[in-house]
Symmetry: C2
Subunit: 679 residues, 2 copies
């Protein structure tokens, strides 16, 4: 048995015997305890703060005396005088073992600390950045032992970090000598080591001691919007978020029109590549300014996007994605120098692109999978990222399936007669009285319902301008509950419904949601609007249903709605329409921008990059275009909610009148031609 003092670390519980005089940092490193240090034990960085505990510890079987650590020393005193050391704390590199001791490593001193995520059902993020800082003192040049300044820097960094090999970015060869001399042969290097543990590289260098923090950018590169989060890589904190319109919009609103633009215009794809890269460079400028962060301190970046954006961002013509077999140029994750992507941020910045799952299921879906982790779910989860193309994941810890389904832009208010983007003035919530068939509604930008006092005054500024995506879901679902629309999607006439709000509008009926006023036209829901939503939701549902077939189930335990649209949608109304499978309403949750969250996770924790790459390889991919049952599911799903699936759970909470307005000559949606739209 060793007679050396016993050192016990909490919360890890790691323990070992160390000779008297061993610094706590040294003991921690030897035991593999997660204790931070940038300066390698020189008493400069103060990252290795620890809290010794004294007294009796029956649990650990030790008694810690007051003199278990060395006395407070001059380095600690100097640090305390300059910066202030929290009471009870010591610097792990200065305090040495004198007797048995229990050492608590506070969260701030852990490299791999946890970032708490707000939603209860998701896991916290463990910090594990690809970038670390290391402060070193470099041997000065000596004519008698000639070696390059770089070689001596690398020698010092190897000793400090324990890495066996270290490389340097070529762009640093030029500033290397001035930085070393400005720092008096003391420098701080940012080392990047990717998740595949390749040789670490020096990607940035500062004279003297540079405390950080360093930042990383998580980007959701959407067809419409580019959204970025700037994160502190040491704390995980989001210090700024910024978004801008994707400048590619000038080449086409949706993805297929951009693919067409590239096909019709020689070099068109490169124009779009340049546009999106310019947009990203602008985003970096904006977000750095917003957060008052030096762009030179942004040294990592993670990107998620759909396959077309993925290819255009990489400078690859998306031509092949516009036609079967929808072949991706590359599907695996990519680790590149940001400069290779034309990004003009700090020259050492790295860019990581999550893998694409399939030709229609992109890195954005991989981001959703990383954030929502269906592969770690105990119950069977259906995760739907609703956009103009819906990406659908179904799975639990036994396996995950994925597909994409061409919902088209109806859910975003396009193809709807009174549709509009979610903006002030747009109707977003609707209720219809089943007895009177009279509606009431709320518009974005106003807390009042339309039948409440002061509503007219409150909306005077914005007006009532149209119906946004979530509003159209609600109004049609409410029409279905109120018996204004039948299961086939037909709106009844005034006579059939007993409501003057129903009127003949061409060959079919429409419903007046708002009568209009002196300034604005009435807002109606046409049978065409219902047809458009039927198409979109049938596509979504039949994609989900196909995955359920493959999995051999007829129901799911829970549904996660991802994407901005998912955040606003009412679970009940979505289910009345049969957008999502039958399921207890409280089991339908919203994940917000899960793709962006996935990017943030991959940014903060490089192990998550290995996880998602492994998961994506294991996901079973279903191509809906070639699945024979897709068409059958689609036809069934055209009904409201469905002509084949009974939706028993829904029917326990909502009564759906058994009306039928088909007069024989009408045009039900169930025979509507199937569109194939991607984008």
């Amino acid at each position: 048995m060793s007679s050396d003092p016993l050192v016990i670390f909490t919360p890890s519980g790691k323990r070992g015997n160390f000779p008297v005089g061993t610094p706590i940092l040294t003991a921690a490193r030897q035991l593999g305890v997660d204790l931070d240090s940038v300066c390698g034990g020189r008493g400069i960085c103060s990252k290795c703060q620890i809290t010794p505990s004294y007294g009796e510890f029956p649990k650990h079987g030790v008694t810690v005396s007051e003199d278990a650590l060395s006395d407070w020393n001059a380095v600690e005193q100097r640090y305390d005088d300059k910066r202030g050391l929290t009471k009870g704390r010591r610097l792990g590199c200065q305090a040495t073992v004198q007797g048995d001791v229990v050492i608590d490593v506070p969260a701030e001193s852990q490299v791999h600390k946890q970032v708490v995520r707000k939603r209860a059902e998701v896991r916290d993020i463990t910090l594990n950045s690809t970038v670390q800082l290391a402060y070193v003192e470099v041997e000065e040049p000596d004519m008698h032992k000639p070696s390059g300044d770089l070689e001596r820097l690398i020698t010092a960094l190897k000793a400090s970090t324990g890495f066996a090999e270290i490389e340097i970015d070529t762009h640093l060869l030029r500033p290397l000598q001035p930085i070393l001399r400005k720092g008096g042969w003391k420098v701080t290097a940012a080392l990047h080591q990717d998740h595949k543990a390749q040789t670490p590289r020096i990607i940035a260098l500062w004279p003297g001691y540079f405390e950080g923090p360093l930042y990383g950018l998580a980007v959701d590169l959407g067809s419409t919007t580019i959204a970025g989060h700037l994160c502190n890589l040491a704390t995980g904190e989001v210090v700024a978020s910024s978004g801008l319109m994707n400048p590619q919009i000038r080449f086409g609103e949706d993805l297929m029109s951009r693919v067409s633009y590239a096909m019709m215009n020689k070099g068109g794809d490169l124009e779009m590549t340049e546009a999106v890269r310019e947009g990203l460079n602008q985003l970096v400028i904006d977000i750095a300014k917003d957060a008052e962060v030096d762009p030179a301190h942004i040294l990592d970046a993670v990107f998620v996007m759909n396959p077309v954006m993925h290819h255009l961002f990489l400078g690859i013509d998306p031509f092949e994605l516009g036609q079967a077999p929808f072949a991706l140029a590359t599907s695996d994750a990519l680790s590149l120098a940001a400069s290779e992507l034309g990004l003009t941020i700090a020259p050492g910045t790295r860019a990581y692109l999550l893998p694409c799952i399939a030709g229609h299921v992109g890195a954005d879906a991989a981001g959703v999978a990383l954030s929502e982790a269906p592969d770690k779910s105990e119950d069977l989860a259906l995760v739907v990222d609703v956009g103009t193309n819906a990406e659908i994941l179904l799975g639990d810890k036994n396996g995950v399936l994925a597909c994409s389904s061409p919902t088209g832009p109806a859910f975003e208010g396009a193809q709807i007669s009174a549709g509009q983007r979610a903006a002030p003035g747009a109707i977003e919530r609707v209720e219809i009285d089943p007895a009177t068939k009279e509606p009431r509604f709320r518009v974005i930008g106003c807390e009042l319902w339309s039948d409440e006092e002061g509503f007219a005054t409150a909306v005077a500024d914005t007006g009532i301008t149209g119906i946004c995506g979530s509003g159209i879901i609600e109004v049609i679902a409410e029409m279905r509950i109120a018996g204004i629309v039948d299961a086939s999607g037909l709106i009844g006439s005034a006579e059939q419904t007993g409501s003057a709000r129903c009127f003949l509008d061409g060959r079919t009926n429409s419903y007046t949601l708002w009568e209009g006023d002196a300034d604005q036209k009435p807002i109606t829901v046409t049978n065409g609007d219902i047809r458009a939503i039927q198409m979109a939701k049938a596509a979504l549902y039949s994609g989900a249903r196909l995955l359920m077939d493959k999995r051999g189930v007829t129901e799911v335990d829970r549904v996660v709605l991802a994407g901005a649209f998912g955040a606003h949608i009412s679970a009940k109304h979505a289910m009345v329409l049969g957008m999502i499978p039958d399921c207890p309403l409280e089991k339908v949750t919203s994940a917000g921008n899960a793709a962006g969250t996935g990017a943030r996770i991959a940014l903060l924790n490089k192990d998550a990059r290995n996880s998602i790459e492994t998961l994506v390889r294991k996901i079973e991919k279903i191509e809906t275009a070639v699945e024979p049952r897709f068409q059958e599911h689609f036809v069934n799903a055209s009904a409201l909610p469905n002509s084949a699936d009974p939706f028993p759970i829904l029917r326990e909470v909502v009564t759906l009148p058994e009306v039928s307005f088909n007069t024989g000559g009408g045009e039900g949606a169930s025979g509507g031609r199937r569109r194939r739209r991607r984008g």
Copy 2:
């Protein structure tokens, strides 16, 4: 004992038993026999040609029957019809083992064949390029098994080459899909794997089967001249050589004036970086055109250069090289993408820079070390690369020392009153009759001696314009042998020498080498010229002498003169001047542009890159500037040949008159101030 047939390969002698039906290529691969194949055994590339031998082989203990191999097949027939197969040859991938057989692998079918070097004393080069071609058939995309085209290409390449991991250059992501489709899913990839065996990378891609050859560029980036050799990487053959003036000359003739330019002009170093890179890009264009080679097929490049050129080429300010302690920014070898060096050759091209030995001993000296291999020498070799700065290596297989010595530009004809660069009209050879003191000489561009009939007519075009570097060595040495110059370097007067060619020229005497004519001034050798040469040769000799001290020897077994100047110098005359240590004259050899040869070796054989990196780390570096004995050696070496070292071997073949022209008031060179000139 196996009953399978025995297959014996020559010249390797490798042997093994293989089941009937095994292709010879497969047998070769399993035994590690060096048999080339680009197409992986598809009968397309014909690189795996072998010659079976039939009959009795008592040496191997086998009898090979006529049916030891399978019959000539359709693939071989097709190849023979199209291209013609040498009689007796078979395709190793088609011919299968049927019985015991002896297989000769001809040199053309070996990847690692030898390139024979002309000089007897040096080793041949074993071919082992960083770049290899691989032809593969790629699985087509399948909607049911979505994966990127790249991932399927890599899968095929892994199977064909046996590499566990393969990466791709980012620039190929864009052309990847069109190339795969143009080739009908058959492509040829160029894979680069450096000498450190890092993950191989696809650096170029061609649709269908691309036969090669691929080329590489070996560049000696001199202060004055940039010289390049374009080599076929599969045969080692130099297909074209080209040289151009270093465009940096406009910023300063010698290196120190360029360092000064960078110090005096903000951004001056970057101007020079741009100039040299432009020069290199021009060289590539010239040499590719000259050889009628597609620049896209030049995929490797190796560079040697002195430290100042090294830094300027890399875009590093050479400021630190201009002052003690002469710190290199980086000394180790560098493997980079050529594009990182601003080179606009094929985007996948790799660039390898040999390591620098010390602040004054550059990658060019490393090239000399690689070419001349003093570390492998049985006897003690002194290798001198003579330029404006002499790099000196001394060693044998027990160890190598290196230093640099500031000879200045006198050996190149600068600082000499009648000096000029080696060009037509320059005096290059001189003889002086010791009795009459009358000279005769030859000029560049004319085979006749000046006392031969027809000389005047022959040189009428060029004239007699001056003395080049080797000419000045000869004339001074001849003057010393003829008793016109004494050991201290003083020219005697007409009275002292008995020759009217000696005349008082200011405070010292000069010697008339040529009287001039109507068109041209006389050509004389002044005492100042002799002083300049004394300085230069003393620097060179004392550097060598210092290494000999360190090694504890007073003589060397042989001397190798590298560099263009070394190729023209007369060993006897150099030794009379005491430029090089005493040694049998036949042991003084010229290595030509050994630095450039070293670049070519590193280009053709990646193992040589490991060798030189290892050697450079082991070389003992001596900084002459801080060696106390350098001054003493320098003073001794100022005499002709030397005031301390006796040169007994030289004196056996040459008589040096014991004359002295010091009249007491003269200024001997031995007290001349020591200059420190670098460049």
